[in-house]
């Protein structure tokens, strides 16, 4: 971003005929352009491309061809769908609370788009490098929950309200393991800034967090899939159970906005996973290339980043094509009684390991922190130690789950025996 700003700032500064007030700097203009492109081009494109891709991939999984009439490979199918959504009549149910009914979908879409502000796509190219980066993502997600609740409540429909209640229960339940795994990352990276987190994943600093923390990765990925409400956690719109959840009564583009929100959010989760665990734009030659030519480095970084995002998006669709849906009680049990305790344990174990590799620092608060006993092993040593610790956590958890399963099975058998006697 810095190089891009400087480059564009040079162009912009020579154009005094812009007639803008002096305190509006070039950087603000560049940011605005970037932001508007992000919101008005990337978001609808994400929806159009992803729906097409999803239908194609799921069709292949189910041994079908998928959309193939409109345009080459059915590529225009999604465009046709978008046009259809624009031209459909928009009904508002009688007795609905009109204002919240109309704000709800917009709020959900805005909340999904806002996530992109902190995702670094290439060296130096990021919307804004907030020092609270990953916490900002959690905060923005809260607005989506509010939008869903508004939509469900205002529709004056029993299914919509039930769907909204279910959706909110699910979203808040899975927010906890997601937040805890984000804290785990913040402990290891020593920062919440997404840019710093990507920097820490260079091979010099110890490599991808996927290698160092597979358990954290699973916790984060599964809970974010639940946050987006995609299969197998797609109870929010379980068509066969609560017709379509909180957006039953929506039609036309308002329905489309919910779809945009879902796909934009899914893409954001993929991008976030790539950023936090797959090293973001890191890849062979990016750093060297950036040193010599920032633009080429940025392009290469984009390519690596999009490849990683593509892999995650494919996994998301693979999930949808193959996994059956959870039942609501199973879903909430899985979130609260499995993910949350594991995330808490994982956080403490990770923090302990990180302390062992702590570099010596002077805090400026009147005391200094001496280096940890294993600090000399550096980033790679920490990665290996974290991996071992994570595998240990996974092993302990599997033991606990097995004991728990055995106990509940014995209980069930006893209950059956009691009935038979």
């Amino acid at each position: 971003m810095e190089q891009l700003i400087n480059w564009l700032a040079n162009i912009l500064e020579n154009t005094s005929w812009w007639g803008l007030p002096a305190d509006v700097s070039a950087a603000v203009i560049v940011w605005s352009v970037y932001g508007f492109i992000l919101a008005l081009v990337v978001a609808p494109m994400a929806m159009i491309v992803l729906t097409w891709l999803e239908r194609k991939i799921i069709a292949r999984i189910q041994d079908r061809i998928g959309p193939n009439r409109a345009g080459p490979f059915g590529l225009l199918q999604a465009v046709a769908d978008a046009i259809k959504m624009l031209t459909k009549e928009d009904t508002t149910p009688a007795g609905a609370d009109r204002v919240p009914f109309n704000i709800g979908p917009g709020l959900a879409a805005v909340a999904a788009i806002l996530i992109y502000a902190v995702i670094p796509v290439a060296p130096g190219i990021v919307g804004t490098d907030l020092n609270i980066g990953i916490f900002y993502i959690v905060a923005v997600g809260s607005f989506g929950v509010l939008g869903i609740l508004m939509a469900g409540w205002s529709s004056n429909n029993k299914y919509a309200l039930l769907g909204a209640f279910r959706a909110v229960s699910q979203l808040v339940s899975y927010e906890i393991p997601m937040v805890l795994s984000l804290i785990t990352i913040a402990v290891v990276a020593g920062s919440m800034s997404t840019v710093t987190i990507v920097d820490k994943q260079s091979w010099v600093n110890g490599g991808w967090y996927l290698i160092a923390m597979p358990v954290t990765f699973l916790l984060f990925f599964l809970s974010s899939v639940a946050e987006v409400g995609r299969s197998p956690f797609d109870l929010l719109e379980a068509d066969s159970e609560i017709v379509a959840g909180f957006h039953v009564e929506y039609s036309g583009l308002k329905f489309g906005l919910f779809m945009i929100a879902e796909y934009v959010h899914a893409l954001a989760v993929a991008a976030l996973t790539a950023t936090l665990f797959l090293g973001g734009w890191h890849g062979p030659f990016v750093t060297q290339l950036t040193a010599s030519s920032p633009v080429a480095g940025a392009i290469l970084g984009h390519i690596y980043f999009l490849l990683k995002v593509g892999v995650i998006v494919f996994i998301l669709m693979w999930f949808r094509g193959t996994l059956p849906r959870f039942r609501i009680d199973q879903l909430l049990d899985f979130g609260w009684k499995f993910m949350t305790p594991v995330a808490l344990l994982n956080l403490l174990v990770t923090a302990f390991v990180v302390k062992l590799f702590q570099p010596g620092v002077s805090t400026g608060m009147g005391y200094a922190i001496s280096a940890g006993p294993l600090a000399s092993f550096g980033g790679v040593g920490q990665t290996i130690a974290l991996l071992i610790a994570n595998l240990l956590v996974a092993f302990l958890v599997s033991l606990a789950v097995r004991a728990f399963a055995r106990r509940s099975k014995a209980q069930a058998l006893r209950a059956v025996a009691a009935v038979e006697n």
Binding site: N131, S142, F143, L146, M150
Partner: protein, 170 residues
Amino acid sequence: MAEQIVFFIFTILVLGGGIGIISTKNLYYSALFLSMTLSGMAGYFVLLNAGFLAAVQVVVYVGAIAILILFAIMLSRRMMTSSEPQTNRQTWLAAIVSPLLFIAILVLVLQVNWPVSSAAPTGDALILLGMSFLGSYVIPFEVISVLLLVALVGAIILARDTHTDTGREQ
């Protein structure tokens, strides 16, 4: 200048939400206006260089407390259909006292010449926050966790339907 414009926008959110809360009869709208006020507050915190606090505001207030209030409203829906006025007998008294109090506080507070420091913030406030939580404020930090535990226990005991336990639910 730009900052002042942003301040006014957030003020419209905050005070507009507040006025909405006291003027609407519909409790559901009050809760939505509350979320509006709380979002505006987050904007204030950003203006005051407290980005972390802004995120806390949104996560805890909009993401948790407002949701909790909306849930509670939906759970006790029946009384919202009553067409009675939503205000009690003290309304006129309160309508007189509140503006007077507002003026009194303002007159008092604005007389004081606060020792404003013009120093720009240095260092990462976030690290400072973390160090303070586990440094000078470590006792409140631990007490908060006990408080949350007690609140959870109390709220679960209160909110649980005691009828379900004894199987008397219709």
